[in-house]
Structures are given as structure tokens and as C-alpha cells.
């Protein structure tokens, strides 16, 4: 148990030292000034709030996913390539413990970044509107779960494949799992007539997580209340999928020659 947390701590520190973290700080600064920028073009306070939240949450979501793809697909192969894994795995700890620790360290960093950006955006909005919207964190929680799940997916693929391929596969699963039903029905099936593509996507969606569950941007932006039990349900859903991907990764990693 302590080994698991120790690996997570080292991984978190290691990730913080990677230059990608500087991008987070840049994004945070952008989120702080975004409301002022939008305000300059807005036509009334209501439009300002809607546009800022919509645009800001979309940017935060994409940033979280980009980080998850980048870090999740490279964290284990990087340790193997740099051979930092050998002294760690020569200790009396299971490889599943190692994978779990790596996942936790990476997921905490990605989720932390998502919350940091959300907080910066919230502060930016509050500085202009004099109102603090705590609902933004409901959306941030969903994006954190979504990013953590993508980290687990990429980490799982990275045990089988090279980091670039793991990233591409992770992005593929994310795209398929997050494709809205309306897009499949109206764009693929009716507008384009790509029936076999639509059928293929729908078939694949049965085997991958439904990322739409984590997207709470619309209710947050429009002030629609979200039932607290929904957060519990989405957390449980994410947890079970993460567990499954880590389990698959663990089974393969346990027998992998290093």
C-alpha cells in the first residue's frame, strides 16, 4: 500500500518536472484573462458568462485529454527506456502496484491541472461579474474523471504497443466513446449516407467507455441543476472502467520481459 503511494508520489514529482507542466501554467494564465477578453466583445453580462464558460470549459476539456494522451501513453515506456524501472521493480513489490502507482501519480497531475484551470477561469469570471460559480467544478470533476480514464486506457495500450501507437489507440477509443448519438444519426447516417461507418461506430461503442457521461458543460453553462447522485454514478462508472483497463495492463505487464 505504501509502495503504491510512494510510486505515485515519485511519478507526480517527475511529471511536474516535465516541461509539459509549464504549458499548464501558461493555460492557467490564459484562463485568468479569458473572461476579460470575452467581455470586451460581449453584448451584455449574460452572453459574457455563457460564452466564457462554454469556451473555457471546452478548452479545459481538450487540454486535459491532450495531457492524458501524452502522459498516459509515455509514462511506463519512458521508465523502461530510461531503465529507472529496474531498481524499482527489483524491490519486493508487484508490477500491478507499480502500474497503479504510475496511474495515480499521472491521474492526480492531470486532474489537478484541470481543477487549476477551472479555478483560474472561475476567478477571472468572478473578478468581472462579482459572482462565484461553484457549478464550474461539477464540470471539472467530470473532465477529471474523463482524463483519468484516458490515462488508464493509454497506459494499458502502452504495455502492448509503442508510445505513439498507444496514444493513437487511446485517442481512437476516446473519439469513438465520445461520439454523440446525434452525430452518428444525422451526420453519418442521414447526411452522408455512410451507413457502414455509422454501424461500425455503434458496434464499437458497445465495447468502449461512454465519454458523454462525463461532459457536463451544457447544464453547467446554462445553470441547470445536476443531481448529486449523478456525480457518484459517473465516478463509479469511471472507476470501474479504470480498474478494468489497469487490470488488463497488469495481466500483460506481469509476464512481460523487461
Amino acid at each position: 500500500m505504501f509502495s503504491f503511494l510512494e510510486i505515485a508520489r515519485v511519478q507526480l514529482l517527475e511529471n511536474i518536472r516535465r516541461q509539459v507542466h509549464l504549458v499548464t501554467l501558461f493555460m492557467a494564465a490564459a484562463m485568468l484573462i479569458l473572461p476579460a477578453y470575452v467581455n470586451a466583445f460581449s453584448m451584455g453580462l449574460k452572453a459574457f458568462g455563457l460564452v466564457t464558460k462554454d469556451f473555457g470549459l471546452t478548452a479545459i476539456s481538450y487540454y486535459g485529454i491532450a495531457m492524458a494522451l501524452l502522459l498516459g501513453s509515455s509514462v511506463v515506456p519512458r521508465d523502461i527506456e530510461r531503465k529507472t524501472i529496474y531498481p524499482i521493480l527489483s524491490r519486493p513489490l508487484g508490477r500491478v502496484t507499480y502500474l497503479g502507482g504510475q496511474f495515480l501519480g499521472t491521474a492526480v497531475l492531470v486532474s489537478g491541472s484541470v481543477f487549476l484551470l477551472t479555478m483560474c477561469m472561475g476567478l477571472g469570471i468572478a473578478s468581472l461579474s462579482r459572482e462565484w460559480d461553484s457549478g464550474l467544478f461539477a464540470a471539472a470533476w467530470g473532465y477529471s474523471l474523463e482524463s483519468a480514464l484516458v490515462v488508464a486506457i493509454c497506459m494499458c495500450f502502452s504495455v502492448f504497443a509503442s508510445p505513439p501507437l498507444a496514444g493513437v489507440l487511446g485517442f481512437f477509443v476516446y473519439t469513438i466513446g465520445g461520439m454523440p448519438n446525434a452525430f452518428i444519426q444525422f451526420f453519418l447516417r442521414e447526411d452522408r449516407g455512410a451507413l457502414w461507418v455509422a454501424d461500425g461506430v455503434e458496434a464499437l461503442q458497445r465495447f468502449v467507455p461512454n465519454f458523454a457521461i462525463f461532459r457536463l458543460k451544457y447544464p453547467v453553462v446554462h445553470g441547470i441543476p445536476i443531481h448529486p447522485e449523478y456525480h457518484l454514478a459517473e465516478s463509479l462508472y469511471a472507476f470501474l472502467w479504470i480498474l478494468m483497463f489497469l487490470l488488463i495492463a497488469g495481466i500483460r505487464f506481469e509476464t512481460k520481459d523487461l
Binding site: R82, L89, R91
Partner: protein, 306 residues
């Protein structure tokens, strides 16, 4: 249950590659006794690192078995008894030596009350106490190797596995690490180390093994391996050579066992060679190593040709 620190029994490892199977280990049998410093010698690709990785559970043997103090290699119980320094030791360079050792003490399951003491002790053994708060990225290569030895020691293991400990280090750093190993012997720690430096193995090891092409070729104490033999090295000049001798190289060099030196001298003189220089030399581990590996390579070459 075997009483050996390390026990390899018919260890075989075949890697499946795109070019077909590659046999890294072919029925390796080797035993290391507790408390000895054991040198593990072989060329690159001989199977040294592969067998060490099997001990640590980093790779799985295709056949055969290995034990560490009677525990199956790779098991948690076996790994609790091992301190390991990898061939290429990369650590989290943003940490200081003290921080890295604390991380490894926690990973090794050292009780909380003992962690600080073990770290202090390990740093003291490798002589890094004064620089323990400097970042590892600021260390020289020799200091990084010493940090590696300290992290291997932090769990106070009865067996230390050091893979190519002194590879790529300057003579001073090599000597420092040899001194450290000698100090470890006084603590009754079994040290199993692979090396390319024969003189180093000769200087500090109780026993050594030569591995080549995945099999054990020779094993014993240094006097046993070198057989305490002397040889005579000669330098000849071809003056009026009637029939060349195969033992004399194109440069005129020849080396023969002491007991056959007199007869060889007579023969070479009778064939028209003139002796320029001659001296006796004790056979060392390097000679034995070269002779064994050359013989095996020639045999394999002959087999593949036939």
C-alpha cells in the same frame, strides 16, 4: 532447500525475435556461496545480464530454475534479500541522494523507525554523506554509481547484485568502488558482480565464473581458474626460415607453456628463426578468458561451417 546465496539450475532463456529465436542462456548451472565476492565474467551478450534479470524476476526463464537463499527467483521473498545495481543506473535526477535512498527504503519495506538510519548508513559506506543533499544530476558518473550502490544497500540485503559496476569509470572511481566492495565483504554480504575488468575480478573476488554463449565455461577460485601456470613469451625474427611454425605469429610473437618452452626453442632455432626477446609470465584470468572464449568461438565456427 539449497544453502546457496544464488543457485542456477539448468537455466535457459530463449528470446523470440522477428529474426527467429535467440538463445541467451543455455542450461546455465552455477552456485554462489553465502558471504563470498563472486565475479561474473563474459563478453557483451554472453548472458550475464539476462541471468541477473531472471534472479530479479524482470524476465522469466524458458526452462530451468533459479533460487536466492532458497527462495524462488523473482518472488517477493527472494527480492527482499537482494540489493541491485543495474548495468545502466538511471535515477530520478531531480532528487538528492538522501531523497532517493528514502524512496528506496520505503519501497523495500524498511520499517519507518529504521529508514533514516539505514539511509545514513548506506551513504556512509559509499562515502557520500557530505554530498547527500546535492541533486543527482550534479553528480559525476562515479558518484552516481556510488549512489546506485547505496540504494542497493539501503534495505540491508544479504545479497548484492552489481551489474557492470565499474564500466566506463575512470581508474580512481574504479578503485573507490573496489574499496567499497571490500568493505562490504567485512559485513558478510554476498556480492555478485558482473564485469569486463579481469584485473578487478582477480584482485577482489573469492571465486569467479566465465560465461560464454549462454553457458558456464569455467568456475572456481582465481588460482583454480588460472591453474597457477606460467608461460614463456618470445619474440622471434625470421632469418632463414626453412619451414614456418604455426605457433609464431606474422609479427614474430609466440607464447608457450613453461614445460614445453625448451623443446619449442630448439625447434624454432632449427627452423631458421632467431630469438630476439624472451620472458616468463604468470597466466592471468584474462589469458584464461581469452583462451576459453576463443576456443568456444572456434568450435562454434567449425560446427557452423561443417
Amino acid at each position: 532447500m539449497s544453502g546457496y546465496a544464488i543457485d542456477f539450475q539448468g537455466l535457459t532463456k530463449t528470446f523470440r525475435t522477428l529474426r527467429g529465436p535467440v538463445e541467451a542462456l543455455r542450461g546455465l548451472d552455477l552456485q554462489v556461496k553465502p558471504g563470498e565476492i563472486f565475479g561474473y565474467i563474459g563478453v557483451n551478450g554472453a548472458g550475464k545480464s539476462t541471468s541477473i534479470k531472471v534472479l530479479l524476476g524482470l524476465i522469466r526463464a524458458t526452462a530451468g530454475a533459479a533460487w536466492v537463499f532458497g527462495e524462488p527467483a523473482g518472488s517477493l521473498a527472494a527480492r527482499r534479500k537482494i540489493g541491485y545495481l543495474p548495468e545502466v543506473a538511471n535515477y530520478h535526477e531531480f532528487m538528492s541522494a538522501a531523497e532517493l535512498l528514502m524512496v528506496h527504503a520505503r519501497l523495500a519495506g524498511v520499517p519507518r523507525a529504521l529508514q533514516a538510519e539505514r539511509c545514513r548508513d548506506a551513504l556512509d559506506v559509499v562515502g557520500l554523506t557530505a554530498r547527500k543533499h546535492s541533486r543527482i544530476s550534479e553528480y559525476s558518473k562515479g558518484m552516481k554509481q556510488r549512489v546506485g550502490v547505496a540504494q542497493a544497500l539501503v534495505s540491508d540485503p544479504p545479497l548484492l547484485i552489481l551489474d557492470e559496476l565499474t564500466s566506463g569509470l575512470d581508474p580512481f572511481a574504479q578503485r573507490d568502488l573496489r574499496d567499497i566492495m571490500t568493505r562490504l565483504k567485512e559485513r558478510n554480504i554476498t556480492v555478485f558482480f558482473s564485469s569486463h575488468h579481469m584485473s578487478e575480478v582477480e584482485a577482489i573476488c573469492d571465486r569467479a565464473a566465465i560465461i560464454h554463449r549462454g553457458t558456464l565455461q569455467a568456475c572456481g577460485t582465481i588460482p583454480e581458474l588460472t591453474e597457477n601456470r606460467e608461460r614463456v613469451e618470445m619474440l622471434w625474427e625470421a632469418v632463414h626460415v626453412s619451414e614456418p611454425l604455426s605457433q609464431i605469429s606474422s609479427l614474430g610473437e609466440a607464447a608457450v607453456a613453461t614445460e614445453g618452452a625448451h623443446d619449442f626453442l630448439q625447434l624454432a632455432l632449427s627452423r631458421g628463426y632467431r630469438l630476439k626477446r624472451m620472458n616468463t609470465k604468470r597466466t592471468n584470468l584474462e589469458d584464461v578468458f581469452h583462451s576459453i572464449t576463443r576456443r568456444i568461438d572456434e568450435e562454434v565456427g567449425a560446427c557452423s561451417l561443417s
